[in-house]
């Protein structure tokens, strides 16, 4: 220290640390919010394989290439793969989860409007990856 003040540097360091802490806390809080599945969420097993999606509901019914859910209810997807890496994506609802052989990855969402949305694979998985699509149908509750 040759007589000059270095407090601006310490302020700079403090500001950087504070910003990093804030960014980390925000991201942490978001992660906490979106990873905790509501208790009454219904489980849907999503199986990715070259090159289509299969959906199995809690009652055992299966759908291929399309998925019907009811508006206002929460659904937990258990995403698996039988061959290579895929990624399950419902773009309109910001649902994105890798389908990895040997793993069960979970992601949940609660559709809030009736409508149709695209489902697509977001991990290059071979020749027909581009057409590994499906449709999400959000319908009125049946009962």
């Amino acid at each position: 220290m040759s007589g000059h003040s270095n407090w601006p540097e310490w302020i700079y360091v403090a500001v950087v640390i504070a910003l990093m802490a804030w960014v980390g806390a925000e991201a942490w809080e978001t992660e906490r919010l979106i990873e905790h599945v509501p208790a009454d969420a219904k489980t849907i097993i999503v199986t990715g394989q070259q090159w289509f999606w299969t959906f199995e509901h809690e009652d055992g019914t299966k759908e291929i290439g399309e998925l019907h859910v009811e508006v206002g209810k929460a659904y937990k997807f258990e995403v698996v793969s039988t061959d290579v890496n895929h990624s399950f994506n419902i773009h309109d609802y910001v649902v994105l989860m890798d389908a990895i052989p040997g793993r069960v990855n979970t992601v949940w969402f609660a559709p809030d409007k009736v409508g149709e949305h695209d489902i697509q694979c977001r991990e290059y998985c071979g020749l027909i990856h581009y057409n590994m699509r499906g449709t999400l149908y959000v319908t009125e509750p049946l009962h």
């Binding site: 910003l19 804030w22 960014v23 980390g24 925000e26 991201a27 942490w28 978001t30 992660e31 906490r32 919010l33 979106i34 990873e35 905790h36 599945v37 509501p38 208790a39 929460a74 309109d92 609802y93 910001v94 649902v95 949940w108 969402f109 609660a110 809030d112």
Partner: protein, 86 residues
């Protein structure tokens, strides 16, 4: 002493904080209904705000420093990379 402090700080950022994050982020308690689009895009816009502010402050500081301590000097000349024909 300084080395130990710096080393601990680096280890905290690289190891301890991600580990704590991993432990606490995914608990067992049930969550509430929420619109993940809103939550995720909110985070995105906040992060973008921080990123642009930090980016402008850092680049502004560098530009100011370069001007204040180098380019404003009356004898400052371009380097050989920029050419000497001026």
């Amino acid at each position: 002493m300084k080395f130990i402090f710096g080393f601990l700080l680096i280890m905290a950022v690289l190891v301890a904080l991600p580990a704590v994050d991993f432990v606490f982020a995914a608990g067992d308690e049930p969550g509430e209904y929420l619109d993940r689009r809103v939550v995720i895009w909110n985070l995105f816009y906040k992060m973008m705000t921080v990123a642009f502010i930090v980016g402008s402050v850092v680049s502004g500081t560098i530009i100011w420093q370069v001007w204040r301590f180098r380019e404003s000097h009356p004898k400052a000349k371009p380097t050989s990379y920029e050419g000497t024909d001026w």
